[in-house]
């Protein structure tokens, strides 16, 4: 059964109700009998004073609201646990939906149906601040969602969001609860509303872009803003959403910024001025549902209904949306997968198997030292940081959690969570608020493990690195351009068609193998990689391509490695490589490499040995990137 609310939101501008809390506070209620001694636990009123709650709903419905929010802002296990009411979570949530349903049934007509939006607030503990963990939060929200669904909520509205990780966790909880009930997000849509503080970010520091990117892959009906400020402070953020968010937009601000008047908090924004700004949001930014949060009253909603009526009587112009560029995010900000005038540089040094320093820091659990290594890499120009704690004899999942939970708060760069162990990967992902990159999946153990990793990418809305390795016992790692391309194609199609991961979030790693060994089998490795990269890029232009660059020069002197790696990176970039896992400080501009070193490095990369030595050279049908690139850097 598809959602009638979703259909209404698509068809017209809707009005949500106003604040619940201030309305409750204005009623004369007994702490002992009504609140059962739990002062401030307004959710409990659903069971003790359903009449009061329904009366408030009805006051908003009479004002013209198309939808009301259930009185369940704190109806989850973590919040109710603070009042020793954990056990009542389901009942309170269910009851809240039933009351709202009853109110809506009274006022709803065929022409103007009224909807019940199941409110799910942020709670009092956030994962990103280390106050709770993924499992506890997931369990807490799932229970609340179960009650709201059973009580007849039309949608689940995850609102007043302050932490991206909390949004990810609660969406997963909602999806799990829906699945238990034999429903899907198509039946009961999930809506998300962020809270951006006066500082211009969420409480935990995320910009609107970072938050939108991190959650955009989830199947949510809408995104918007509520609380913290009045509408005037939301203009920039709403404009950005209006320009870039590809689904419905919602906005229900406070009645301005609160002021303390004679010891009481007052919200100054009057209904008229508030409607004026929201009118602009509807007409300029295409917002589809407007309403009020703290300090708003039925009078505010009456004004907003006029805004909606006016908008609905005109034909609604469709928004022109510039899709958000494919990106990863840290807790704080967004980093695009395709960089202007550069490739996406992924710092390689937070890696226990690749960096002796990192391994030593991990051994003594010097977490601050690890943060320092990460910061250095960002300073040197890394856009993303690879994190790999795989180290025999240690608890990888625990280490990953320890490292990631610190890095996300102290370093502003998206993370690439790197491990061969699924459990270690997941431990990292459930501590990272931003949109991460998983490193990596491949077909070495067949489709099953590949699918498992893809499912992690779906659950945490992450991107994913895919190495060109398959089940082939003898060949395994793809050495030829043909195999690199074939495995890449298989992986891209499987990740997209079966798991729904967009191509722009797939990073194909066509595998860098050393050309420094002198063995005939390795001589063409670089050449095949360049050609493989070229073919994958040509066939899948949206896919990202990355590689562990430094491996190409394995075993050479440090100075020789710098030169070879730098020239190789240039050739790969020309072929279409959009990213590389490197030590950014050890890649130097070609203009700074001696001409002869550059030339011979290129000959080495393209295996231009003489025929007498068995040199394979550049097959004549290949475009000679070598000569042309040498011209451009001469």
């Amino acid at each position: 059964m598809s959602s009638s609310f979703a259909a209404a939101l698509a068809a017209r501008t809707l009005v949500l109700d106003g604040g619940m809390g201030s309305q409750i506070l204005s009623r004369d209620l007994s702490i002992d009998s009504d609140y059962c001694g739990c002062e401030n636990c307004t959710d409990i009123l659903c069971t003790t004073r359903p009449d009061v709650v329904q009366d408030i709903h009805e006051s908003y419905l009479r004002a013209g609201a198309d939808a009301v929010e259930t009185n369940s802002f704190g109806a989850n296990k973590l919040v109710l646990g603070e009042f020793d009411r954990t056990e009542d979570t389901y009942d309170i949530a269910k009851c809240s939906a039933e009351i709202a349903r009853a109110a809506c049934d009274i006022h709803g007509t065929k022409d103007k149906p009224r909807f019940v939006l199941g409110s799910m607030g942020p709670g009092t503990k956030l994962i990103s601040l280390g106050q709770t963990d993924w499992d506890s939060m997931f369990d807490s929200y799932r229970e609340g969602a179960r009650g709201l669904i059973d009580g007849g909520a039309d949608t689940l509205l995850i609102e007043t969001c302050q932490d991206i990780l909390q949004i990810k966790c609660s969406i997963n909880a909602c999806l799990a609860a829906l699945k238990e009930k034999g429903k899907s997000h198509e039946d009961v849509p999930i809506m998300v509303s962020l809270t951006i503080e006066q500082t211009g970010t969420t409480l935990t520091g995320s910009s609107i872009e970072a938050a939108a990117v991190a959650i955009s892959r989830y199947p949510i009906l809408s995104l918007g803003l509520n609380c913290a400020t009045g509408p005037a402070e939301m203009v920039d953020h709403m404009r950005w959403l209006g320009k870039h968010w590809d689904r419905a937009l919602t906005c229900y601000p406070n009645a301005g910024l609160p002021a303390l008047v004679e010891g009481r908090t007052e919200y100054p924004l009057q209904p008229g001025p508030m409607a004026e700004i929201l009118d602009r949001f509807v007409n300029e930014f295409g917002v589809r549902m407007i309403g009020g949060c703290c300090g708003t009253t039925p009078e505010h909603i009456t004004e907003l209904c006029q805004v909606a009526d006016k908008a609905n009587s005109n034909s609604q112009a469709s928004r022109t949306i510039e899709p958000i560029a494919p990106s990863s995010t840290s807790l704080y900000s967004q980093v695009e997968h395709r960089q202007d005038a550069s490739i996406l540089i992924i710092g390689e040094r937070c890696n226990a198997s690749g960096s002796r320093r990192f391994k030593q820091l991990l051994e003594v659990e010097d977490w601050d030292g690890i943060v320092a290594v990460a910061r250095e890499q960002v300073h040197e120009g890394s856009h993303v940081l690879d994190v790999n704690v795989d180290y025999a004899g240690r608890d990888g999942a625990r280490d990953m959690g320890e490292v990631v939970s610190r890095l996300v708060r102290q370093v502003d760069a998206p993370l690439m969570i790197d491990s061969t162990q699924t459990a270690t990967l997941e431990a990292g992902l459930r501590h990272a608020p931003g949109k991460c990159i998983i490193n990596s999946a491949n077909f070495e153990d067949g489709d099953t493990k590949f699918d498992d990793i893809c499912q992690l990418a779906v659950k945490y809305a992450a991107s994913i690195v895919i190495g060109t390795i398959d089940e082939d016992q003898e060949a395994a790692m793809a050495r030829t351009a043909d195999r690199k391309f074939a495995i890449a194609k298989r992986a891209i199609e499987r990740a997209q068609d079966i798991h729904g991961i967009p191509q722009s979030d797939l990073f194909i790693d066509p595998l860098v193998l050393p050309i420094s060994t002198g063995m005939d089998a390795d001589r063409r490795s670089a050449l095949e990689l360049i050609e493989g990269t070229r073919r994958i890029t040509a066939a899948f232009p949206d896919v990202q391509i990355t590689c562990g660059l430094s491996n190409v020069s394995f075993g050479l002197k440090p100075s020789a490695r710098v030169a070879l790696n730098s020239v190789f990176m240039h050739e790969l970039a020309v072929a279409g490589m959009s990213s590389a896992i490197v030590h950014a400080g050890r890649i130097i501009p070609l203009v700074r490499i001696d001409g002869e070193q550059k030339r011979v490095a290129a000959h080495l990369i393209y295996d231009r040995r003489s025929n007498a030595l068995g040199g394979t050279g550049l097959p004549s049908e290949y475009p000679d990137a070598l000569e042309s690139s040498m011209v451009s850097v001469a």
Partner: protein, 576 residues
């Protein structure tokens, strides 16, 4: 199939050679520039480009013997910074190295700063500088900071990724008179525009100065100026920023405004001419519909004072059009205009070089590139010169040029309408032709030439491979070869019409129109309306040589051109 690299030994193994090159190298940063710069000026530049602080102090001290501190910054250090910006923009230099260069720049400026004359006491004025939201690039903005600070301004540089509210906050707390916004990314231009609109909405109209790599003068002084309610200025670089500040604080805005207005007027002059001729054209089209296929009877007189001395009308060897597609590239090459190619297309500017030095650069660097391209394009058949040209009977009727059927000279088949100069001589292209009332038939030559679409495709491939240098070379070479072909065929037409003997004896003279008559391409000042291409295409049918038109009248492939060939001896370029 493989081949050995010429000039390398039979047992060449690049791995061994590569290892040998690093035999004595120490540490990871041993790879270094092989050529030591000879002059002090080069050394100053290279300190910046290479991001090397060692020896910087000595270099600057040495420079101070000959130059003022400001000249050192302006002429040499900033020149290096410009190269860094270009390398970064073309993807050849990664950000960390750009930052290193900026560090060195800062160190150099710190050394020079105390030596610079600075107005003491009160500040000349103040500005808030910010890189806009979503953009982290601040080198250019920081240079503006340095230059303005050193010239007596108080600069509140609030850093990168600044949202409008924080910029406005800074304005409020500092009371600055101007706000300067910068950004390198293309999207930053949109952010600037959003900021301006929001400032409008909030009733803020403080003067704004905009700069940064993605922003063009055209866009800033055109669209953005129109958008913003307050004053808005574009700063190409730190020095233009300084000049703007000087004008702003001394309230001498008239100069700036008139300069901007002049530039705007120049840009829109062409647009206006096109608009004017559009209006006239509607009339012409009407007239054409009415008289098409008929003998022309209605006569419009051109202003009589403008009548030109009658020239004899040559007789063409044939009427109608012909396709020529077997042209040797080598016969076209001599007509290439090297000045247009080297300076215009390839951007090898003479700058401050002496004529001798410039000529040496051309000989040593530039002409070898041209020779290589000539050979490559010949051997790989990248360029395929083709021409379609012909002659049509025609007569002027006021500002209209009526074209008649080559078979039946009484039947009108097409009609061009050209703009007439306002003021001046009131010249119009039709003045060079016999009029309808003269009763005599005149002759109009038309040409369309192309060097084929492979040139476009190959250039595009280079572009997509980020090989911008080769792209620039090949693209420019293709365009100029098409121009050369047009020049060559114009000469052929003069020969066919029997007055080639009046030509300049050398090719360079041809580039200065040292021959009888002229050729005008749509888009030139005398016939600025590109939609004339549409009529020319009906007459010439250049599809036969693979040249087509886009809906906004551009020719595809780009390496093509077409022209009206006018035989009148007084026909030279003029601005309508």
């Amino acid at each position: 199939m493989t081949t050995d690299i010429p000039g390398y030994p039979d047992d060449y193994d690049p791995l061994q050679s590569f290892i040998a090159l690093f035999k004595d190298a120490q540490g990871p940063a041993a790879a270094a520039r092989d050529d030591t710069p000879k002059t002090l000026e080069e050394r100053l530049r290279n300190h910046i480009i290479d991001g090397v602080k060692e020896g910087l102090t000595q270099s600057i001290e040495e420079a101070l013997e000959d130059y003022s501190p400001l000249d050192i910054i302006n002429d040499h250090l900033l020149d290096g910074m410009k190269t860094v910006g270009e390398l970064f923009g073309s993807g050849q230099m990664q950000l960390p190295f750009v930052l290193q260069s900026a560090e060195v720049m800062k160190t150099a400026v710190a050394q020079l700063e105390p030596l610079m004359e600075r107005e003491e006491g009160s500040t000349k004025g103040s500005i808030v500088l910010a890189t806009v939201k979503g953009d982290v690039h601040d080198i250019g903005k920081n240079l503006v900071d340095i230059i303005l600070s050193n010239n007596g301004y108080t600069v509140h540089n609030i850093g990168i990724k600044q949202t409008l509210p924080s910029i406005l906050d800074a304005l409020n707390t500092t009371g600055a008179q101007v706000v300067g916004l910068s950004g390198l990314l293309v999207k930053s231009v949109n952010v600037m525009e959003d900021n301006l609109r929001e400032m409008n909405a909030q009733g803020i109209d403080i003067p704004v100065m905009l700069g940064g790599a993605a922003l063009t003068r055209h866009y800033a002084e055109g669209h953005l100026r129109k958008t913003y309610n307050g004053k808005l200025y574009y700063g190409k670089d730190a020095f233009e920023g300084l000049r703007t500040m000087d004008h702003l604080v001394s309230d001498r805005l008239d100069d700036l405004e008139s300069e901007i207005e002049e530039r705007r007027a120049k840009r829109s002059a062409t647009e206006e001419v096109v608009a004017r001729s559009k209006a006239k054209q509607a009339k012409t089209a009407e007239e054409f519909e009415r008289t098409k296929g008929e003998t022309v009877t209605a006569i419009v007189e051109a202003p009589s004072a403008l009548r030109l001395a009658l020239a004899s009308v040559p007789t063409p060897p044939f009427w109608g059009s012909r396709v020529v597609d077997s042209i040797e590239l080598d016969s076209v090459y001599p007509f290439i205009n090297e000045v247009a190619l080297f300076r215009g297309q390839w951007q090898f500017k003479k700058g401050a070089m002496s004529a001798d030095d410039y000529e040496r650069v051309l000989d040593e660097t530039v002409r070898p590139i041209l020779e290589r391209l000539k050979t490559d394009c010949r051997e790989q058949k990248t360029l395929a010169p083709k021409v379609v040209y012909g002659y049509w009977p025609c007569q002027a009727n006021g500002d209209d040029l009526i074209v008649y059927d080559p078979e039946d000279h009484a039947r009108e088949i097409e009609r061009f309408c050209f703009p007439r100069q306002q003021g001046k001589q009131q010249r119009c292209l039709t003045d060079f032709f016999r009029t309808v009332e003269s009763g005599e038939m005149d002759v109009l030559g038309l040409t369309a030439v192309t060097v084929g679409e492979r040139a476009s495709e190959e250039a595009q491939k280079l572009f997509e491979a980020n090989n911008y240098t080769e792209y620039l070379y090949l693209h420019g070479f293709g365009v100029e070869t098409a121009e050369a072909l047009a020049e060559m065929w114009h000469k052929r037409i003069r020969a066919e019409l029997g007055f080639a003997s009046e030509d300049s004896p050398n090719v360079r003279g041809l580039f200065r129109q040292n021959y009888r008559g002229s050729r005008y391409s749509p888009g030139y000042p005398a016939c600025p309306d590109m939609s004339d291409h549409g009529i020319m295409w009906r007459l010439l049918e250049p599809e036969r040589i693979g040249a087509t038109l886009t809906e906004n009248w551009q020719i595809v492939p780009e390496q093509s051109t077409c022209a009206f060939v006018v035989h009148h001896p007084e026909a030279k370029y003029f601005n309508a």
